[in-house]
């Protein structure tokens, strides 16, 4: 009800249906990136031309299930479809196995199956562009989620803000170090858009502080194992000269903390780390007293995509980019002048859940990705 009220009050703007599985108070209002946006010109799309009476057949063309984040995102879509059974007659999911050619064919097959709307998470930005553009030309509305195509030929893009993540990470590190110190950038996959955007946004902040020095930039391919290997090399080179680690996602953060522990760093000696979404790094932060900032890139955006899809089919206006809220958390005592977190990591962590679980999927505390089943219409 509260959600509906806010939506009505704010008229055209949309809200994110995101709630992490904790008792802590969470922020569920309009996206903060929208609230803080200094420009009054915000792009909205009119979707009257897509208005249809339901129930609907929705197709989801997934790039693949290559890492745990993507599995949770797909489950989040299924869950939302199950919750909207009255409006969603059928959700058809295809999985391209991270193959562009297969995803192009998948999209054609979904169109052959006469879907009313397509949700697409594009394997690569450019190669999927012609297929998505063609679907739009045929009058089938496309909602992008997590990974967009290079052109603007879609109705809206559901995502979280990479720019906000990168800037908050960097500003927190600057303030933790009082404007002076050495930072290691621990990236995900070199060249992938989430990684490059977060690093670029972070550097825009770091570059304003001449006392901050980037010692090294290394890549983990979003894997804790690879993250540990590359950080071992960095630690043996710079040791205690490393004052902070700017990690572009929580998938690789545990590897870095492990590398510091194995290099003989004691409890309380490990430098500040940034993280997102994943349970394990938060468990380690509490256990080894690592100062930590969490800014999420919630896989719950999958469920949001279904909600946005239903709005489009109802003919409601939607923002051109739909940035869902990320919860912000720090370890206790590590709040800084500009980072006042929504909650502390101790309230966000699931102490007894698996380390590789994503706590920001909105899937509830009992969620287990390997056994999850939901009766969604298909």
């Amino acid at each position: 009800m509260k959600k509906k009220l806010i939506a009505i009050l704010l008229g055209m703007t949309a809200i994110a249906g995101y709630s992490p599985p904790t008792q802590a108070e969470t922020y569920t209002g309009v996206p903060r990136t929208f609230l803080f946006n200094p420009s009054l010109d915000v792009c909205f799309k009119d979707t009257a031309q897509y208005k249809k009476t339901g129930p609907y057949v929705i197709g989801f063309s997934n790039a693949g299930l290559g890492d745990s984040w993507r599995v949770v995102m797909q489950h989040s879509i299924m869950k939302a479809a199950a919750e909207h059974k009255d409006q969603v007659k059928q959700l058809i999911i295809t999985d391209a196995g991270h193959d562009d050619a297969k995803q192009v064919a998948d999209i054609q097959d979904l169109i052959s199956r006469e879907v009313d709307l397509l949700i697409v998470s594009a394997n690569t930005e450019q190669a999927l562009d012609p297929a998505v553009t063609r679907a739009m030309e045929r009058g089938i509305p496309v909602v992008m989620v997590d990974r967009r195509v290079s052109s603007n030929n879609f109705v809206t893009f559901v995502t979280a803000s990479d720019a906000m993540m990168g800037r908050l990470f960097a500003q927190w590190i600057v303030e933790k170090l009082n404007g002076k110190g050495n930072v290691v950038i621990l990236g995900g996959q070199a060249g992938s858009s989430p990684n490059e955007l977060r690093v670029k946004a972070g550097m825009q902040v770091f570059n304003q502080y001449p006392g901050i020095k980037i010692l090294d930039t290394v890549y983990s391919d979003w894997s804790p194992v690879r993250g540990k290997q590359v950080m071992q090399t960095v630690i043996s080179k710079y040791g205690h000269d490393i004052n902070a680690v700017f990690s572009t996602h929580g998938l690789q953060t545990p590897g870095s903390i492990e590398a510091f522990l194995e290099a003989g760093f004691k409890q309380g000696e490990i430098p500040p780390h940034t993280t997102s979404d994943v349970n394990g790094p938060m468990q380690m932060a509490l256990k080894y007293k690592v100062p930590m900032l969490e800014v999420g890139y919630p896989p719950a955006m999958g469920g949001t995509a279904i909600e946005v899809a239903l709005k489009v089919l109802a003919g409601a206006q939607v923002p051109c980019t739909y940035e869902i809220n990320a919860q912000i958390a720090t370890t206790e005592g590590d709040e800084t002048a500009s980072i006042h977190p929504d909650m502390h990591i101790k309230d966000m962590v699931l102490p007894d859940a698996p380390a590789d679980m994503l706590v920001t999927g909105g899937m509830g505390p009992d969620y287990n990705p390997s056994t999850y089943k939901v009766d969604y219409p298909h």
Binding site: G97, S112, E125, Q126, A127
Partner: protein
């Protein structure tokens, strides 16, 4: 359906029962799809399947030729990646560059093939090893040229992949059929074509009979390079850009329709019509599995089973014979 039945009876009467297994599987899949969904057997869907077959068709046509000589070309995936990068990189959105660049990359693909063939002939090393090596080199060059999507093509460049004759029949897939028929004709009715089978059947005998086996080998690898380059141009048309790993999946994928279509890996037996049926089988299989809501992981399992099933039938037939 009518056409399939006619084909079946023709192959039965013509003693070409080798293709029967593929046709049988096509029919089974068609029936499964039609029973599962009333949208499967629509002309709209089947014309899509036809269109989706083109990329794999070109590269498999070349692969059939190398396998007929008892060889194999493991460099096709890398050739596709390099040529795709160069096609969009060199055209770079300029309509005037389309024709010269396409001609250049088709020649380049052919030349890489000539080098493959020459290396096989000169060194005597098995083509599997030679093309594994050249494949690595060509992939490396593709990455040196660019690490990500490179260049762009004019909008109407997508006609090759998405264009439809009379709004129905895919242009790319129809060009593929024409090329299959052309190669089938060459293999069957020209001396060079018969040499391909002779070299694959018994290379020693071919040498003793003073057949130009070196020229034949260089020729088939050149053809394989050419058709890989054609697949690359097709994929740029479909994706709008070339990427350094565009062709990665096509090396192994190009072998599947060849073996499923009844061409023996040992060489000398088989032909391109079986490969074309194999290509349609793969396309239809992916489509039917999508209609069945089967996850892509399981799709791989089914594809693997179909390959083993089809090929084991051929082996069994040979044993009986």
């Amino acid at each position: 359906m009518q056409a399939v039945l006619q084909n079946t009876s023709r192959y039965l009467s013509g003693g070409r029962s080798g293709h029967l297994i593929v046709i049988g599987l096509l029919v089974v899949m068609f029936i499964v799809g039609a029973v599962l969904s009333d949208r499967f057997a629509t002309s709209n869907n089947l014309l899509n399947v036809y269109e989706q077959s083109a990329g794999l068709a070109f590269v498999s046509l070349g692969q059939t030729l190398t396998i007929l000589t008892g060889g194999i070309d493991l460099s096709v995936g890398s050739i596709i990646s390099l040529v795709a990068m160069l096609t969009s990189g060199l055209i770079n959105g300029n309509p005037a560059m389309v024709l010269p660049v396409v001609l250049f990359v088709l020649v380049l693909g052919t030349l890489i093939g000539v080098m493959n063939g020459a290396a096989v002939v000169v060194t005597g090393v098995h083509p599997l090893i030679v093309t594994l090596g050249t494949g690595a080199i060509v992939q490396g060059v593709a990455l040196l040229y660019g690490l990500g999507p490179t260049g762009k093509v004019p909008l109407n460049f997508d006609t090759f992949a998405y264009g439809r004759i009379a709004g129905k029949i895919s242009i790319g897939a129809t060009i593929a059929i024409a090329l299959f028929l052309l190669v089938w004709f060459i293999l069957r009715y020209t001396r060079s074509g018969r040499y391909v089978y002779a070299v694959g059947d018994d290379p020693h005998a071919a040498r003793l009979m003073a057949l130009p086996h070196k020229r034949v080998l260089i020729g088939v690898y050149a053809a394989s390079g050419f058709f890989a380059a054609l697949t690359a141009v097709y994929l740029v048309s479909r994706f709008g850009v070339g990427q350094p790993y565009t062709g990665a999946n096509y090396t192994l994928a190009s072998i599947t329709p060849v073996v499923v279509g009844g061409t023996m890996l040992a060489g000398g037996r088989g032909g391109v019509i079986g490969t074309l049926l194999g290509v349609y089988l793969v396309s239809l299989l992916n489509n039917v599995l999508n209609f069945m809501d089967v996850s892509s992981h399981f799709q791989l399992v089914v594809q693997g089973l179909v390959i083993i099933l089809a090929v084991s039938v051929y082996v069994e037939k040979r044993r009986v014979a």
